[in-house]
Symmetry: C2
Subunit: 219 residues, 2 copies
């Protein structure tokens, strides 16, 4: 009973901070994308490929969430975009306060899009609004078909789902038909992109969709 | 500040319950194995293969942790062993209290080993002692090499690490040499098993090790 009340307080405080972040993203005209997945689904590799393809067309920033290390931030930095590292020091998700604290170090007014790469976790990040414009979930064909039914909240909240490691499809028992059906059952309006961060397959379609979202945000 | 104190209280209460569970496992002479991984690393498939191989040799029970569904429990039940489902209703990990509540429904005194399949999550489950005898972490070759360095706590606490989906190795950039090196850097005494839940490769070595642990527990 006590635990439930404490969680409500924490989530309530988070809502206030998320609203503040959302106002700032709006004022600066920057699209904020909260990227979430299990550990090892390939968020960072997809980000690398996305930056390679969109850099020059739009101005990109990245907020990297990680428990302790800056491994992912270092990978992204090599692509020549603004990167800010958040270390959660063991906390299993980003929250709106952590994201808000980065705004002093990231020139939002110069950017068109900011990706927020969340901690690798299919459960906790879904509960914390960061003030983002849209949530994107990445799953990999190697993870099996049961993820949408087992972790429904994160799929319900996603505007797009990237089915990654499509190059591994022939070597797994993963069914594209079933995953599309299960995602549609939970969230009929979710866009689904079949991609491979490794080979680049499908990255172009996903990026065209992102460019459209950036344009909508600015209009 | 307040949040940290609350967490300490929750963890403190968990420690008491974990001690109680540990005493019960000892009294009943049953080895309790806490199985943890990211979503989709293959815990359930490994359990299925392990039960097929060990059933008849030792008496097996399974406590299945899941957010909402009983998909995994149904799979395990078909193998003809005792299964108890815990639904955490959105909580990102099992705790000792949840596990203790199952003891009325599971005949521990008739069992040699009880597997506790935790919620798919590499972060939160590592913080909650369930009173188990040993923790085992499963990672998949499709998840990339950076997991031990990015999620050190769970690897530090593991007595064994199963590197699963070894059949996908030729189609990924995963390095066995590096994973062994990184695990050894965090936890030099961890046993490492290379397995495939899908093909059965390496399951026998892992099961021989488990039988040895069961024997040690009883002696």
């Amino acid at each position: 009973m006590v635990q439930v009340r404490m969680e409500s307080n924490i989530l309530g405080a988070n809502e206030l901070m998320a609203r503040k972040n959302r106002n700032i993203f709006s004022r600066e005209g920057v699209l904020a994308v909260n990227l979430m997945s299990s550990p090892g689904s390939g968020k960072t590799t997809i980000l690398e490929k996305t930056i390679e393809s969109l850099n020059g067309k739009i101005k990109i920033g990245v907020i990297e969430g990680d428990l302790y290390t800056d491994q992912d931030a270092k990978r992204i930095e090599q692509k020549g975009v603004h990167v800010i590292q958040i270390n959660t020091e063991g906390t299993c998700h980003l929250d709106a306060g952590m994201v808000g604290k980065t705004f002093e170090q990231i020139p939002l007014n110069e950017l068109d899009i900011v990706f927020i790469e969340n901690v690798g976790n299919l459960v906790c990040p879904a509960e914390f609004d960061l003030g983002e414009d849209l949530k994107v979930v990445v799953i990999s064909t190697a993870e099996g078909n049961d993820k949408p039914l087992k972790y429904p909240l994160i799929f319900r909240e996603a505007k797009a789902v990237l089915v990654n490691k499509i190059d591994l499809l022939p070597y797994t028992d993963f069914s594209l038909e079933k995953i599309k059906e299960d995602i549609a059952g939970i969230n009929p309006s979710a866009e689904i992109f079949l991609v491979s961060g490794r080979t680049g397959q499908g990255i172009n379609e996903w990026n065209q969709w992102l460019l459209e979202e950036v344009k909508n945000k600015k209009s």
